[in-house]
Amino acid sequence: MSQFVFKMPDLGEGTVEAEIVAWHTAPGAVVKEDEVIVEVMTDKASVEVPAPVSGRVISITGAPGDKVAVGSPLIVFETGAGAAAAAPASPAPGAASEPARSAAASLAPAPSAGGAVPVAGAAARIMTSPANRRRAREAGIDLSTVVGTGPGGRIVREDLLAAAESTVTASAAGATSGAGGAGMSRAAPAQRVEVPAETSETKVIGLRRLIAERMSEAKRTIPHFSYVEEVDVTELEALRAHLNSKLAKGAPTLTYLPLIVTALTRVLESFPQCNVLYDAARGVLIRHRAAHVGIATQTPEGLKVPVVRNAQALGLWALAAEIRRVTERARANKATREELVGSTITITSLGKLGGIASTPIINAPEVAIIGLNKAVDRAVVLQGAVAVRRIMNLSSSFDHRFVDGYDAAAMIQALKELLEHPAMIFIPR
């Protein structure tokens, strides 16, 4: 028998940490190689991590919502002959994963104050120094939830600091009260707040936490200004209807989106200052020749922004197919990290819920976001007469640090002109 420490794998270029979404195993469980043991999330994508070896799980690091650094121990297996037999009392793998799943599921109504969920079956004596035991006690950390990285699996001070950090993050995000785990301070352990039965608490973890962090960051650091313009899409609608009428039966119908994305890529050729990523660390604006268009997409988990790469190079049908592909993968929670990063400008649309005007938040580090409002038939004055026209508003936000109001308005007007004369979208300048 020997121990195998499985560390958080590198899940993609530049990934430094990943968040535990759900455990599919628990200490004491016996797992087979390649069986999915944990679902983790990087800053964009969810990944199901398979077991690298067969063996019995001795300990796991982190509760759902906790972030684990790439390269830190994630799970400790007992491997080799006898690993499975050594746990006669442990339930079968399938059954063993149930408590972990239900623990994750039950997090929403009843978050634990410490954030870390005590794992079952940690019967062995915990190895750590008296000083660390004192620190854990004072910080309200349950040592049985901490995986040791020291010699012989001993819990060293760094492990405790990491655990304290995740406790702080989790408790802050979980909107639980009390000073528990505030750094390594000598504050009293967290006290549970009495929660009236009429309310329920939801721990802000996973994608929701990520969305929250990104939105706050973008709204806090970027001086947004929004610009709303009315676009007459009567001709665009006619083109769309015509194209759809030519489709084979059962083929997916064309929406406005591929047409608008195509128009946008044309406009960006003249307004490259809107197709920019701002590298705040270096204080550099990175202008992109290619238009990688983010498509804000509502998914069961929350807002995601899958990316259509090189949208400027795709024909209308290919673009439509690609938009469909990436958004469907995002909705099915199957998008890879690569499919969720690297956009240079974003389009957001609520379709039938689009409303009259909106003030979209920029998908940092981009500098512009184009919002589509609902297309409706309106009575408008056209050449002195009232006419029924299909009108769609564009509500767009810009980073006023880098995009002047004049340029933003000119860009939207150029887009409006293309959309109102859709043939121009396809005619080279």
Binding site: P130, A131, N132, G150
Partner: protein, 338 residues
Amino acid sequence: MANMNMIQALNSAMDIMLGRDPSVVLMGEDIGYFGGVFRTTEGLQRKYGEHRVLDTPIAEGGIVATAIGMAVNGLRPVAEIQFADYIYPGFDQIVSELARLRYRSAGEFFAPVTIRTPCGGGIRGGQTHSQSPEGIFTHVSGLKVLMPSNPYDAKGLLITAIEDDDPVIFFEPKRLYNGPFDGDPAKPAVPWSTHAKGQVPEGHYTVPLGLADVVRSGSQLTILTYGTMVFVALAAAASLGVDAEVIDLRSLIPLDVDTIVSSVKRTGRCVVAHEATRFSGFGAEILSIVQEECFWQLEAPIQRVAGWDTPYPHAFEWEYFPGQARVATAIEAVMESA
């Protein structure tokens, strides 16, 4: 101030006390006419006379017993046991009579006896000239036990011991008589004239009992030691580049628990080092105190460096002596991430 080695400092202490207090007498084997085998009492019989500086028979039991009798009757004897290895014939007198006199007489009688004795190895002295029996005496209730590591402390502590009204066993690490020794026998000897603690006031001064000396302040670990091992510990810590706090206990009884505890609570790591054998050694007592007082601050198990549990050998002295390498190993163990 004058440059003194430890022998000269001890000689100065006794000279001053003989001059200040007519009740002080020196006694021991070859200490008078000859001036002591280590020359510690050189010139004192010539200066103060045969009735103040007495040559005794080779009978340690008799030396101690006579000193007790003199002390009870008003004198302040300073008895030399030529080597600590020879102290055992006097052990019954020390334990059964000297240590208990004040207790047994309900305070009516007391015995201000100081027993000086050279201890420790590193001088190719073999089993009969190298022992460190301090732990045997620290186990006896009623004794004070001192072991200076340098000339300044030696003189100040010896004057304190002589002036003290109760018995003091005064151990002199003989390897340190002529200079600080870092445990490396291959290096040329270093004289005390090169060391700050070799600067000794010529007149009367005292070093208080029960006060440890922080010889090096540090933040990463605490090394608790005394006698010869002070300089070995300093050198070992320096060789590893660790920021060690090195504490010279120098007064084993009474022990400066406050200094020990406050240091270990701060550093969280502790090494105890002495030259004496390990099992039931004085280090075990220090370790126990640290465990009791500092447990919740400890980052790692306390390490102990000591002589092997054998008689002091004639051969392989430097394999026996707990030199820098063994102290360094203990430091590394205690610094292991925790």
